[in-house]
């Protein structure tokens, strides 16, 4: 096997040397044979003749020797390749067009494959990632406006667990060699030497890093002992990026002090640059689970059984498989889970962590883009069929000559297929390289930051499998469509001149071009639709996002009481309103500006079953003025809508017409949650969703009528460019209290753009493919007109020449026709 391979490779790569050795060997043989025959009495001449006769002809021996070298097939392919290369040099425009066509279409395919692989399948960059399992609680979902009761019953939502739950799984499991807990999205406000900002941190159990097989770049990770006693061990591990930006990658970082959410920590280690956490939000800082109370402020006691905040990741024990863990872990669930109400953990889900997708829309996005890329590849195929057909028609003369010289038609077909394969591989390889640029651009345009302005990190590196799949697709596309012209070559040349056959070929080409044009038109329409949709959403419907800046203030992280936080909020609004260039300032208490949660609403006399779910937020005075949303009836909230004043609400037009179909919403009473409120205003529908989504019901209550208000997201309407105002806004908030963490200092258009990522990605991608499809179709039509024009010219020329007699048509001019 090895000897065979060696000799084949040597024959292939060192053909000259092998031939020279055989020459030498045969010469030696003949000389000895001649000497022997001369010794037997023959003259030199007679002996030489006899020796050559005995050998059977030197050239024949060489041929026989070459035949047993096992490379005859490869050699003939190499000959085809050399011939193909010459043919391409003769028609460089054709070769370049085919390669460029394939490169642009396969690059789109490779980009989608890489995107899909990263979002849905790529494993974590840790040791033996296939052994890892994600363990999560399973919750029955609530029915909501977007989710019917039956859908909610089917849908199960994965949920985090509490620290005691985690311990129960960790100590009980035999199928896992280890189980780590982590809270990956801890916003930690960090200050070092007077510098302060919020970073994305993670609270992790001491076994987190060892379980993933990660080694520190510097220092150490957490000791088990440092994760045993609540609030005792104030140790932190910093990420590689944090180490570079805050400590200039200095070894002095080990042992340095950090203030995290108001508590002092000591840095004990640096995580390697290859690992930045389990999600697409890179982690800058890690603290142990026993310090969870610092990292998580939404529970009274973050380590208590009622605070479900931790995610779990385990490693399968040797010899165990996923189904073993999936069978065992539910048996370890706390007994209370069996009777858990809707919305709380009641079951256990176990899965191998794959893909970085966090958005439900992303799998759909990948499927749509995949379909678009395949349509583009088909358009490319149709185009290639036309191009290759025209090219082989132009080479009919060359083929006729080769057939007349004795080349078998099958041999010519193979030659054509070889040329197509060469072009396909070149196109595919160029596509693979081009797609790196495409994925780079995609990452930069859409996957660099989330909707809160935090940096994101996606590994969009290409895998060998994707490169191979792309080359394969290029090869299939290219070779498939040279088959048609190859079969034409195989047929006797005279037959192909029959006008009926030519017409059939022509019409098949026209059919392909028609299909191509139809696909191009469809793509353009789709691109226009998506583009318009994306633009509408970015611009906003019933609101004007273009002049709005945002900032998030989080007094809760530094343990402000509600009273103190509200004083702080009022001062922030007052200062921001007095900033030059600011038109108005408002805020929301729940989720984000334009966002919110959901709540049950009812009319006063309704029973519980009649309640409907509406989207909901608590908004400050002048919220709608800040967003430039029209109040169609009544008024919006002002400073008088406070905790002591009568409860009021604003509804959107959809909710108003739903609850009061005949009108009369203004001034009516509505039950929001459990509180009866008077409707003081009706506003236009205001939603981040696309126009394809159903209209949503919204109810708004005054920010200041919730006495528990602590944190807020503030919206600032600027007279000019809101991004220019961002530094001044942050400075002004800092002046009120420099210890209160601020985050998400971002303009509303940037935030919407990040939220609209799937739509924008598809609009951009489909736009690209539409442009490409149009260009390809245009190229196809041009090639067709050119070949038609040439054909017409030839026909008229040969008609003139052959006028005296049909027999005057020479072999070559007939073949050319």
């Amino acid at each position: 096997m090895v000897a065979d391979l060696y000799h084949r490779l040597r024959a292939l790569l060192r053909r000259g040397a092998v031939d020279a050795e055989l020459d030498e060997e045969l010469r030696f043989h003949l000389d000895l044979d001649i000497e022997k025959r001369m010794r037997a009495g023959l003259t030199r001449g007679a002996a030489a003749r006899a020796a050559r006769l005995a050998l059977g002809g030197i050239e024949q021996v060489k041929d026989a020797h070459r035949d047993v070298r096992g490379i005859a097939f490869v050699e003939s392919i190499l000959r085809d390749i050399r011939y193909g290369a010459r043919a391409m040099r003769r028609a460089p425009a054709f070769a370049a067009t085919v390669v460029a066509t394939l490169a642009l279409s396969t690059a789109a395919l490779a980009t989608v494959l890489t995107l899909g692989y990263t979002l849905l399948y790529r494993m974590l960059p840790v040791e033996r990632p296939a052994e890892l399992v994600e363990v999560a609680g399973v919750r029955r979902a609530f029915a909501s406006e977007q989710l019917s009761t039956s859908e909610a019953a089917r849908l199960q939502v994965l949920g985090p667990v509490s620290y005691p739950d985690y311990l129960a799984f960790r100590t009980g499991s035999r199928t896992l060699s280890g189980l780590a807990a982590h809270y990956p999205t801890a916003p930690l406000f960090v200050s070092v030497g007077g510098l302060g900002r919020e970073v994305n941190g993670a609270v992790v159990s001491a076994n987190f890093f060892p379980l993933l097989g990660i080694r520190p770049a510097l220092g150490r990770f957490f000791h088990d002992d440092e994760d045993r006693v609540p609030d005792r061990d104030r140790v932190a591990v910093i990420g590689s990026n944090f180490w570079r930006t805050w400590f200039a990658a200095s070894p002095a970082a080990i042992g340095a002090r950090l203030r995290i959410n108001g508590t002092d920590f000591t840095i004990v280690g640096v995580a390697p640059a290859t690992f930045s956490g389990m999600t697409s939000s890179p982690i800058e800082l890690y603290i142990p689970t026993m310090m969870l109370r610092v990292g998580y402020r939404w529970c009274d006691d973050a380590l208590a059984a009622d605070c479900t905040v931790l995610q779990m990741i385990g490693r399968l024990a040797p010899g165990r498989i996923l189904s073993d863990a999936a069978a065992e872990l539910p048996t370890l669930a706390p007994a209370a889970w069996a009777h858990a109400p809707r919305g709380e953990n009641s079951g256990v889900a176990v899965a191998v962590p794959r893909g970085m997708s966090t958005d439900d829309e992303e799998p759909r996005l990948v499927r749509i883009l995949g379909a678009v890329a395949i349509v583009l590849l088909l358009v490319c195929c149709a185009n290639l069929a036309g191009l290759v057909g025209a090219q082989s028609a132009a080479r009919a003369h060359e083929f006729a000559v080769r057939v007349s010289l004795g080349a078998a038609p099958g041999r010519l077909a193979r030659q054509l297929l070889t040329e197509s394969a060469m072009l396909s591989i070149a196109g595919g390889a160029a596509g693979v390289l081009l797609s790196r640029a495409f994925t780079g651009a995609l990452a930069m345009m859409f996957f660099a930051a989330d909707d809160e302005g935090h940096p994101l990190q996606y590994d969009f590196s290409q895998t060998p499998a994707i490169a191979l799949a792309t080359l394969g697709a290029a090869l299939v596309a290219g070779v498939l469509f040279s088959v048609a012209s190859a079969t034409r070559v195989v047929r006797p040349p005279a037959a192909s001149r029959l006008s009926r056959r030519a017409t059939a070929r022509w019409s098949s080409g026209a059919w392909l071009l028609g299909a191509q044009a139809a696909a191009a038109v469809a793509m353009v329409a789709l691109a226009a639709l998506l583009g318009a949709s994306a633009r509408t959403m970015l611009r906003g419907r019933n609101y004007d996002a273009s002049h709005v800046a945002l900032i998030r203030v989080r007094p809760r992280l530094v343990k402000y009481s509600a009273d103190r936080a509200q004083r702080f909020q009022r001062e922030v609004v007052r200062r921001l309103e007095s900033l030059p260039g600011v038109d108005s300032v408002s805020m929301v208490g729940i989720e984000s500006v334009l966002g919110g949660s959901s709540i049950g609403v009812a009319l006063p006399r309704w029973d519980a079953a009649q309640r409907v779910t509406a989207s909901y937020n608590e908004v400050g005075p002048r919220y709608f003025a800040t967003l430039d949303t029209a109040v169609t009836a009544g008024r919006e909230f002002d400073e008088h809508d406070a905790a002591q004043s009568p409860p009021v609400a604003i509804v959107n037009e959809t909710l108003a017409s739903r609850l009061w179909p005949g009108g009369g919403a203004l001034g009516a009473t509505i039950v929001v949650g459990r509180i009866e409120r008077q409707i003081v205003g009706i506003v236009k529908d205001l939603s981040l969703r696309s126009r394809t989504h159903d209209r949503e019901s919204w109810v708004y209550t005054p920010f200041w009528q919730n006495p528990a208000q602590v944190d807020s997201r503030v919206a600032i309407r600027a007279a000019g460019d809101p991004s220019a105002l961002l530094p001044a806004i942050a400075r002004e908030v800092n002046r009120v209290d420099p210890d209160v963490p601020i985050a998400e200092t971002i303009t509303l258009p940037s935030r919407i753009a990040a939220l609209m990522r799937p739509v924008r990605v598809s609009a951009t991608f489909v736009g690209y493919t539409a442009v490409l499809a149009v260009i390809l179709t245009a190229v196809g039509y041009m090639a067709r007109w050119r070949s038609r024009w040439r054909g017409a010219r030839r026909r008229s020329a040969s008609g003139w020449r052959s006028a005296p007699s049909a027999d005057a048509c020479s072999a070559s001019s007939c073949a050319r026709g």
Binding site: M1, V2, A3, D4, H7, R8, E21, L22, E24, E25, L26, F28, H29, D31, L32, D33, A54, L55, G56, G57, Q60, V61, A64, H65, D67, V68, R69, G70
Partner: protein, 112 residues
């Protein structure tokens, strides 16, 4: 009167066996291999010299023999072929197979 035996055409596939046998004792170059086969067979077997070299290359690819450039008796550069370990095993196996075959054919032919 016993005259010189007439030359026999080699049955298909036996050339490999003869080559292996010819170099079983010591490495030989191509011409010597053909000479040796003729000598030992008392000139009864005629090796088609033209088929010797392709056969040698085939055996090399199979890993049964390996070639080395050396110096011949008359002080010329020559390619010498020698058996590899796999070649020696193949020689034993093929010799056994050949013996069994000829014995069976003999038996059949000797049957009255």
């Amino acid at each position: 009167m016993a005259g010189p035996p007439s030359r026999l055409e080699l049955p298909q596939g036996t050339l490999d066996l003869l080559i292996l046998k010819a170099i079983a004792l010591e490495p030989q170059h191509g011409w010597a291999i053909s000479e040796r086969i003729q000598q030992i067979s008392n000139d009864a077997l005629q090796v088609q010299q033209g088929s010797l070299y392709p056969a040698l290359h085939r055996l090399e690819r199979r890993g049964w023999i390996k070639a080395k450039w050396g110096t011949s008796d008359n002080n010329r550069k020559a390619k010498f072929y020698e058996l590899t370990r796999a070649g020696r095993r193949a020689l034993d196996a093929q010799t056994g197979a050949w013996r069994a075959l000829t014995a069976a054919v003999d038996l059949l032919l000797d049957t009255p």
